[in-house]
Symmetry: C2
């Protein structure tokens, strides 16, 4: 007998945070916050205020706006990443940030010519690394459990690896890597370690400083709820900042930005990894999203994430496994992010049927994975149960066989 | 005797566009739209609607949002740049876009090892080019008239130039380059030509296709009025797109973005120069700004810009020159963008006095330049006269000698 969702919700110390978000009356059961997080009410207000400020302060607004990449980075560092002020900036996209850091890392290790990643890492990560012009060595990690220490040790064994770049939480499986041990393995092999935190920032504890991570990037539109295309972040360990140079030399990373007649000289600190003008609307949204994480506490958020996914796993075993669904996420709660992957041979059609027939919005990742994301700030245990129940209904009624089988793009 | 501002305003075919923008009651006389453009009323509405859409459509919004970099790029291409659909995308910052295109250009010209720019080009342009790891050859162009054909011919004479990169309108002088002739000179030397259109897009006619320009970048927060840190754009001539590859290989530039298990293969067309997730709020603001340019017509905008700056030059000669101000902008109307530069030995303090004592917001560029920007969509001839009159008052009363002389950063 599974636990009682209402009892779990009644005991949830984060329950009140649901009211911080916009919910549409009659809206669908949304379990895709791991793709695009919900709109916080305060963000709606802050964005309107920022647009007003643009209209009236005009260029004078920049006196405050100009510091946002650093100040919001500091807030993010402390609230969600386990990093110190001066180690994180909010800027550009994950893709661009990964490019900047990976190239800088490679250039700082002249004797080393290889970069290691997981063959199942998120596409943009692989593409960026592929484009660096060095050897890209792919780990063929377990598709459910993700890359582990042994994988990294093996890939680094030749001694030629400059950089190991992995996702802390796998986008498909939801597997949470053993960040401390993998980082240590990379270091033991003389490589720098870069983590993509897109599926972990705001969902799990990261501990960048504690675990000696060198570099990290991540997005803000998933568990940080900063909206579609909000700016990403990057982290560079303090002690490393002076040794690395961005390949994209821009005026926001210049030592004296408004002394405009000098040659390029990188600023001190992580600010040297800024490039062009920061997107102010997006930064204001990131700040609001980070505030919510700080108020709830990343420890409490991570604990609730483990509880929500544990409940989903329990329901999977009881309700979904008999209907042909296979769990694509690790069973150890310490090895999970805040989403679970449910594999089914007709996964694409199952996903479409959930959307078209059952009022559930999950997403799909080829070849067979339906993802249910449970952002701890606004997901109830009752939502987990309801999503599973509706999936059971689709499968029992075989509604997935009634929808169009043609695959079309989904984000 | 100078012309009558009221008569000029009465005959202005674009006068009605002023009502499209937010003006604060009692706000300052703003002549810095060349740094940050004003807020269009429709943008305020569109951004609020987009935030609502995020809150309710959630991830489903991406079905439409995903095409914005291309569709807004097409609209910008036709309305303001003289380019065709499929040649422009709105994405990233000027800095990042310039990096992508310059590196791609350099890689496409293996025998050529030098890049040419103007020593007085905007700092981020110089910094980016400096970071490419090739020889950066600097033109020491005339500080008022800017780089010309002879400068480019001389710099390219050794035959080793892969890329010439210049700003169409100089950020300090406001000089408008002879784009057709300079482009031709670069081509004659076997180089590709890249124009930074940050101070020209939405202010002057560009004619990218007509003049065979290869590459261009530019921002949208000046004369396109898209707001602080709105995404930039990039242009790649159709015939060249297949030959160039972005150094930043991201999933938005991948041939089949959601077929996630493939190696990187660039998409056809200019879309290959996208990298990470597009910033949707910024794109919606760019679309609104571009609409206004289309409705007014870039020809009419450019004509009014010439008339406004001609009026400012006339007033300068009559009113300001006797007070020690020197014109830092070309006198030929065909060689000007939409701002004028007023040089004064105490330029910084003059700028501060205008802001603190006279209710005028211009900006300052070292060492001695006060910039007055006159965005044609919302600037009246009466504003030009009023700005000059207030500057006269400051100088006559020597109020600039009463403000703090210490230079602090301005954007």
């Amino acid at each position: 007998m599974t636990a009682d969702a209402e009892a779990l919700d009644a005991g949830d110390p984060l329950a009140r945070f649901r009211e911080e978000f916009v919910f549409e009356d009659g809206g669908p059961l949304y379990v895709d916050g791991n793709s695009l997080g919900r709109l916080p009410k305060r963000t709606q207000e802050r964005l309107a205020a920022l647009v007003d400020e643009w209209g009236t302060a005009l260029v004078r607004g920049w006196q405050e706006w100009i510091d946002l990449p650093v100040s919001v980075g500091d807030e993010l560092a402390e609230s969600a990443l386990g990093a110190r002020p001066g180690e994180v900036v909010v800027t550009d996209s994950v893709t661009v940030n990964l490019y900047k850091l990976a190239r800088a890392a490679l250039a700082s290790r002249p004797g080393k010519t290889a970069v290691v990643t997981d063959a199942a890492n998120f596409p943009t990560d692989r593409y960026v690394l592929e484009g660096l012009g060095c050897e890209l060595r792919l780990i063929g990690a377990d598709p459910v459990e993700g890359p582990g220490v042994a994988d990294v040790e093996e890939a680094c064994a030749p001694g030629d690896v400059a950089l190991v770049s992995l996702s802390q939480v796998g986008y498909r499986s939801g597997a949470l890597a053993d960040l401390p041990a993998v980082t240590e393995a990379a270091h033991a092999a003389g490589a720098l370690m870069l983590w993509d935190l897109s599926h972990s920032a705001g969902a799990v504890q990261v501990g960048l400083d504690e675990h000696g991570v060198d570099l990290a990037v991540g997005c803000t539109y998933k568990y940080l709820n900063a909206g579609p295309g909000a700016p990403a972040f990057l982290y560079v360990r303090s002690a490393l900042q002076g040794q690395l140079r961005t390949p994209i030399q821009g005026w926001f990373g210049q030592r004296d930005q408004f002394d405009m007649d000098r040659a390029y000289e990188p600023a001190d600190g992580v600010v040297r990894f800024l490039a062009g003008s920061p997107q102010i609307l997006g930064l204001v949204a990131v700040r609001a999203g980070v505030e919510l994480v700080r108020e709830a506490g990343i420890g409490a958020i991570a604990a609730k994430g483990r509880a929500l996914t544990a409940y989903a796993v329990e329901l999977h075993d009881e309700v979904l496994a008999p209907l042909g669904v296979e769990l694509g996420t690790p069973r150890d709660p310490a090895r999970r992010g805040a989403h679970v992957s449910l594999r089914h041979p007709e996964g694409w059609r199952v996903c479409r049927a959930l959307i078209e027939r059952a009022g559930v919005v999950p997403d799909f990742r080829r070849p067979d994975t339906v993802r249910f994301g449970f952002p701890p700030l606004y997901t109830r245990f009752a939502d987990v149960r309801e999503a599973v129940e509706r999936l059971r209904g689709v499968l029992e009624r075989r509604e997935h066989l009634e929808v169009d089988a043609a695959y079309t793009r989904v984000t």
